[in-house]
Point group: C2
Chain length 196, copies 2
């Protein structure tokens, strides 16, 4: 039972890389078979069809990876301005799972799959709601500890920051250059300062 799981994971990982790079619809099963060196029989043994594999990528690969990248940094509780800024800075500038030219994988999937398959929207919504929840809780805590102004609306602020993050990822993808991230980050810092 160990080798089979490795095969499945190999498919998911390689398939994700292809999808992240080229998009879901333009990545064919045969593309995936070619890069994984897995045969069609093996593929369809592990996944009922292509969409089920796509959902598995989201739930079994993206979710855990992005949870650790997005949510865990917010557990080490410090100065909110700095913590949130560092989180976004790390995601944009240092995280080497995410590539500027490919954008945000969750945003990519959202754009491409939302009109195509409801199951994708569900799985993606779970990820984004997780992010929102954890950052909202973070700001709530910061308010109680007097680290940010009590007039701050935690959920609204979170949504505003998350939106900016998704948007600048799109800009980066369009311009294929991390340099657009820098002015964004500076202005993010400005904004975060106003929460104090």
């Amino acid at each position: 039972m160990k080798k089979a799981e490795a095969t499945r994971l190999n498919i998911l990982q390689k398939a994700f890389e292809l999808v992240y790079e080229k998009g879901y619809q333009t990545t064919s099963i045969d593309d995936i078979l070619a890069t994984t060196q897995v045969t069609k029989g093996a593929f369809y043994y592990h996944f009922k069809n292509k969409d089920e594999m796509g959902i598995a990528i989201i739930n079994e690969l993206l979710k855990p990876i992005l949870t650790s990248s997005f949510i865990e940094p917010l557990q080490n509780y410090k100065n909110p301005t700095e913590t949130v800024y560092n989180l976004i800075h790390h995601l944009l500038m240092e995280n080497d799972f995410l590539k500027v030219q490919h954008g945000c994988p969750v945003a990519n999937f959202t754009q491409e799959m939302t009109p195509w398959n409801e199951d994708f929207s569900k799985a993606l919504n779970e990820i984004s709601q997780q992010w929102i929840k954890s950052m909202t809780l973070y700001f709530e805590k910061a308010k109680k500890n007097g680290l940010i102004n009590t007039s701050v609306n935690a959920k609204r602020t979170t949504l505003f920051i998350m939106s900016g993050y998704w948007g600048i990822r799109n800009f980066g993808k369009l311009e294929n250059n991390k340099s657009v991230y820098l002015p964004y980050l500076k202005e993010l810092k400005n904004y975060l300062e106003t929460l104090k």
Copy 2:
């Protein structure tokens, strides 16, 4: 020569609607032919191939429409906070060319086409640079007239706002509901106030 142009425009409009709704890769030429009632011969008389049609959608349809939606409102010069807020509010809540469940057409194209065809990136970049330029100029003017703080960096601020706009469009698409727009808009107003 008039009827032919009408045919071309009809193709572009119907094709855009399909692409905006379903995505570019999942919209087939045959889909477009079926909804336009145009034959394949006519289609390929007007467009060398599918991608050329896609570029034409961006340059001949999206660009003029979005220019009037994004840029013209910034010509009527008033209070920046109010003007920019009203612009975004109108785009999100009232503009009936843009649909919440379909997201931002420029962002959609960016996500889907950037890895596929460079010409798309070029055409899309022209649109987004146009937006950035006009809003940056707007903030510069506002600074000179003392309507916002001189410490404001016009370009950075513009990029920050534009990113937020693209991001919240993605949220709206994912949740298929305009209600996420409201907290975003409130926080946008807060942010704009800090520029004074």
